[in-house]
């Protein structure tokens, strides 16, 4: 491309830049906590057992919208084993979604707690509820939310829409939609709370130990200094676990009231109902394209629901350049649990709507969908490399073998290819760390970050080992404790970019402090000392790391450091290609292969970075063809609050995945957790369209939808 100017090398850190030639960074290192996790020795919050611990359970609203008439917990209070009981609702109060917390109790065993919960007599005035956006948007809908069931967003407008449509040779109009999905973290939300006088220790399944400490302190009105949050291992969060939540505060209060440690982990149903979800998205779009394949105009009215009183906005149009555009969004409230950030919030929705539209527009101008995309991309930039990545991915999926829309092969199995692009930020700041080097050569790095399954612990150890010339197992990483130096929550793919610079700087400072201390004994100036591999080099003398550390005597090196500029960046780009086989007799889609070309700045651990991509892609396949929260249209109760009817891909549903990670070492570290999860659903939807010749503007693309659409199109045979 013409505007592919050589990007200037971004400014690097002046004292501790990433090494030009690295020994460990970018190699494949196995997770350092792998052995603990595969042997069951890793203790998650769910596994914590404290002396005298009892079990808490939450009382929840069974109704979507109701006013409490009366509540009688006297029988439950006297039930066997019950040690504490809290009611957080009073007559006259309203609940706004099924599963809303109205009380809690703790008993000696889980079974006793469940029994006692059933003894609480609750009487409700059931009020009319809104179970879906259609119901909520009807003019005659009951007003459930104040001031209204909907909230208008601000209009976004750019260019001259009328002129844009005048210049269009073709237009496409359609309504696109995506479903609500729930996070379905395997470890449910919850914690173990233990009081020691006025001090609270909480083992919480959280993505933010420091944020959760703050949440406990605010919710319980105690000083943050009195709270310690520990999350050594946690079983997935995907954006839904950033604070103590209601269950954490109730657990702490139960523990106080019962004067005993309390474990309160939610069950699967509660997890689906009350701990967040990805909002649905709807978009009524009209878009125009000129005869030579340039996008001219985009006009969209969009809406979606994030549940009871929560927003549902998402970026639209996504990536491609529509010079003239207008977009108007409306948040629609329904009586269901509130949305929370979920793996690239907003992006999969915006990507699906835009990318399916792009394929339809390409067909209008009879262009290859990839060529059409290349023609309408923003200029190349380090964080906008789609024009380079599309041909790379096309090569690996064998894009040349693509037929035009509708597989002409006779027989029920239709094959198709599709593509799409994604972008994400992934910058991070603010992490602090503390490093100790002892006289026996051991290195401990402490940081109040957490490893939510991404491999954070492992890449931290790699950066420290690289900086000190050690092997990864020689470094001890301590994290997941709010008593460690502050680090931000793990969300928005920011952790790597926030924590790795802190590791580099802190380990670098510790190395310099070590040189300072041992220089007199070595008889050289500190500046003449360098790090080898497992060695310290002072002029012509080379001594082992252990011998160097031995010179420290009793007092270890102990330094603090933090994130500094010049070691990380933000902005990633990637493309994905999908190959599918659709059985048009059964409507079942089999995703055969996904190709992913993705950048994430400097790659720290190639192995875990690839696994992040696999994981994101699999979640995208789920979003495309499997998972959906289904609410009963009369009661707004979820009909699939479990894991057999809330469908997720099993091992046989997993496609072949081909990941190409593009290393950009000059940019520093950028997060990779969310980017690969964005584009998959759109690529799969486009591949299904290419295979069957019918356009599905709604995910998940389930057999019923596909067969209905095929029927409407008169079949394909």
């Amino acid at each position: 491309m013409a505007d592919q100017a050589q990007a200037p090398r971004p400014p690097q850190h002046d004292k501790y830049p990433w090494p030009e030639k690295s020994r460990l960074l970018g190699t494949r290192v196995s997770r350092i906590d792998g052995p603990l996790k595969v042997s069951g020795r890793a203790k998650y919050s769910y596994d914590i057992v404290r002396p005298g611990m009892i079990y808490g359970r939450i009382l929840r609203s069974p109704h979507a919208h109701a006013r409490l008439k009366s509540i009688d917990a006297s029988a439950a209070e006297k039930a066997p084993g019950v040690k504490a009981l809290l009611i957080t609702i009073k007559p006259g109060d309203k609940v706004l979604f099924p599963g809303e917390e109205i009380g809690a109790l703790a008993a000696t065993t889980e079974q006793q707690a469940a029994d006692a919960l059933r003894m609480i007599k609750v009487e409700w005035d059931v009020l009319p509820a809104l179970a879906n956006v259609e119901q909520a948007m009807r003019p005659e809908a009951p007003q459930v939310f104040t001031p209204a069931n909907t909230r208008k967003g601000t209009a976004q407008e750019d260019g001259d829409l009328a002129a844009g449509f005048k210049n269009a040779a073709f237009t496409v109009e359609g309504t696109y939609s995506t479903q609500v999905q729930t996070h379905t973290s395997l470890e449910t939300h919850g914690c173990v709370c233990e009081w020691n006088g006025d001090n609270l220790t909480a083992w919480v399944s959280t993505q933010a130990v420091h944020g959760t400490r703050e949440g406990f302190a605010q919710g319980l009105k105690i000083p943050q200094a009195n709270v310690r949050v520990i999350t050594e291992f946690m079983g997935g969060g995907f954006g839904s676990k950033f604070g103590p939540d209601m269950q954490g505060l109730l657990c702490a209060r139960l523990a106080k009231a019962a004067n005993a440690p309390v474990k309160l982990m939610l069950d699967r149903k509660e997890e689906h109902l009350a701990t967040g979800n990805r909002p649905s998205a709807f978009a009524k779009v009209k878009a125009g394209v000129s005869a030579d394949g340039k996008l001219t105009a985009f006009d969209a009215t969009t809406w979606g629901t994030g549940g009871a009183g929560a927003g549902s906005d998402y970026p639209l149009p996504y990536i491609y350049v529509f010079p003239n555009r207008r977009r108007m969004h409306t948040d629609v409230y329904i009586n269901s649990g509130q949305q929370r950030a979920m793996r690239a919030p907003g992006h999969p929705q915006g990507c699906f709507v835009t990318e399916v539209l792009m394929d339809e527009l390409a067909d209008q101008v009879r262009m290859d969908p990839m060529e059409f995309r290349l023609k309408n991309l923003p200029p190349l930039a380090p964080n906008a490399m789609w024009a380079k990545y599309f041909p790379m991915g096309a090569e690996r999926i064998n894009w040349k073998s693509r037929h035009v829309t509708g597989d002409p092969t006779p027989g029920p199995i239709k094959r198709g290819l599709g593509c799409s692009a994604n972008r994400w930020g992934g910058a991070g700041t603010g992490a602090r760390a503390h490093c100790e080097i002892s006289s026996d050569g051991s290195v401990v790095m402490r940081c109040g970050t957490q490893d939510i399954g991404t491999g954070n612990r492992t890449i931290m150890a790699m950066v420290v080992a690289e900086t000190l010339g050690l092997d990864v197992p020689q470094v001890t990483i301590e994290l997941g404790d709010s008593n460690h130096p502050f680090a931000p929550g793990s969300g928005g793919s920011t952790t790597a970019a926030a924590v790795m610079p802190a590791m580099r700087v802190t380990a670098g400072k510790a190395r310099d402090a070590l040189f300072e201390r041992i220089a007199p004994q070595l008889g050289v100036a500190p500046t003449e000392i360098t790090i080898g591999v497992g060695t310290v080099i002072a002029g012509s003398k080379t001594i082992t790391w252990r011998d160097a550390c031995r010179m420290l005597g009793t007092v270890p090196v102990s330094v603090d450091g933090q994130w500094e500029r010049g070691l990380s960046a933000g902005g990633t780009s990637g493309v994905q290609f999908a190959e599918v086989e659709v059985d048009i007799e059964t409507g079942i889609t089999k995703v055969k292969k996904i190709v992913c070309v993705q950048d994430c700045g400097l790659i720290v651990d190639l192995k875990t970075a690839e696994t992040q991509c696999y994981g994101g892609i699999i979640s995208g396949v789920n979003y495309a063809v499997f998972e959906e929260r289904i609410l009963d249209r009369n009661t707004a109760n979820m009909v699939n609050p479990n894991m057999e009817w809330y469908h997720m891909a099993g091992q046989s549903d997993i496609p072949d995945i081909d990941v190409v990670l593009v290393d950009q070492p000059e940019r520093g570290v950028i997060g990779i957790g969310e980017p690969p999860a964005v584009a998959t659903a759109a690529a799969v939807a486009n591949a299904i369209r290419n295979a069957t010749g019918v356009t599905l503007r709604s995910i998940p693309i389930t057999p019923d939808k596909l067969l209905t659409e095929l029927e409407r199109a008169g079949g394909t045979n």
Binding site: K37, V38, T109, E610, H647, M648, P703, D704, K705
Partner: protein, 249 residues
């Protein structure tokens, strides 16, 4: 055109794919392999009981009421004999003493009859390797191996598991030396958050003890009873296909 018998699901169950829905499944949810196994076992034991001319065809629920304390094998016989002699002797609802053999160690504990094997291990014995995730036989995080085959320990009662050799992920490693399957999971990055991992490891061990050299198709099939949310399945499959040195069980 689509085939006449193609499964089209509508209404509340639109969106459901992969299997045909029976009335029973709509009412009770799909049957898991464990439930199917239990039903088959129950059918077998009631057939056997009929052969021994017991006075009644005991349903699963009645069965628990009549089971005496002690191992399940002797309890079946004892229950039948008691039923002959003096009618059912109810067990529970309070705690009953039981003995579980887990990873070669005998544990004596007392639980209510309704406590699952998973909960008994996790909350009474602090054997927390297997995880509680769906608690209804859909996700496989609680997979244990009993006499050579996998079971969802959330769908088996602790009192049912007496007298059997129960294996969990906690007992696989030999000190600090990982079992070949555990090592393969580490080497192939078949784990992320690690919460599904113990279940996947046990399912893989059970597979390889039966079939040390599975085809990819066989491995996928054997692991279909386990779900992962992080998306580690690529590494898991590589691990299952590359683990070497698992002795036939």
């Amino acid at each position: 055109m689509r085939a006449k018998n193609a499964p089209v699901l509508q209404g509340e169950f639109a969106g459901v794919q992969r299997r045909l829905v029976t009335d029973r499944e709509i009412r009770y949810g799909p049957r898991t392999s464990v439930q199917r196994h239990c039903e088959a076992k129950q059918a077998y034991s009631s057939r056997m009981a009929r052969k021994k001319q017991t006075p009644r065809d005991e349903s699963r629920r009645d069965f628990f009421k009549t089971v005496g304390v002690g191992s399940i094998a002797t309890a079946v016989v004892a229950g039948v004999r008691d039923a002959d002699a003096q009618g059912p002797a109810p067990v529970g609802p309070g705690d009953v003493p039981i003995t579980l053999t887990i990873n070669g160690r005998r544990h004596q504990l007392s639980v209510e009859p309704r406590v699952t094997l998973l909960d008994a291990m996790r909350t009474r014995l602090e054997i927390t390797g297997q995880k509680r995730v769906c608690d209804r036989g859909a996700c496989g995080a609680c997979t244990v191996i009993i006499e050579g085959r996998t079971y969802y320990s959330c769908s088996m009662l602790a009192i049912e598991a007496q007298g059997k050799n129960i294996r969990t992920v906690d007992g696989l490693a030999n000190g600090n030396t990982l079992h070949p399957v555990q090592q393969a999971f580490c080497d192939n990055d078949g784990l992320m958050c690690g919460f599904c991992t113990p279940g996947f490891v046990m399912a893989t061990v059970a597979l390889l003890e039966k079939n040390p050299n599975p085809t990819p198709e066989q491995a996928r099939k054997a692991l279909d009873g386990n779900l992962c949310r992080c998306g580690t399945n690529i590494g898991v499959l590589k691990a299952a296909l590359s683990a070497k040195g698992v002795t036939r069980g």
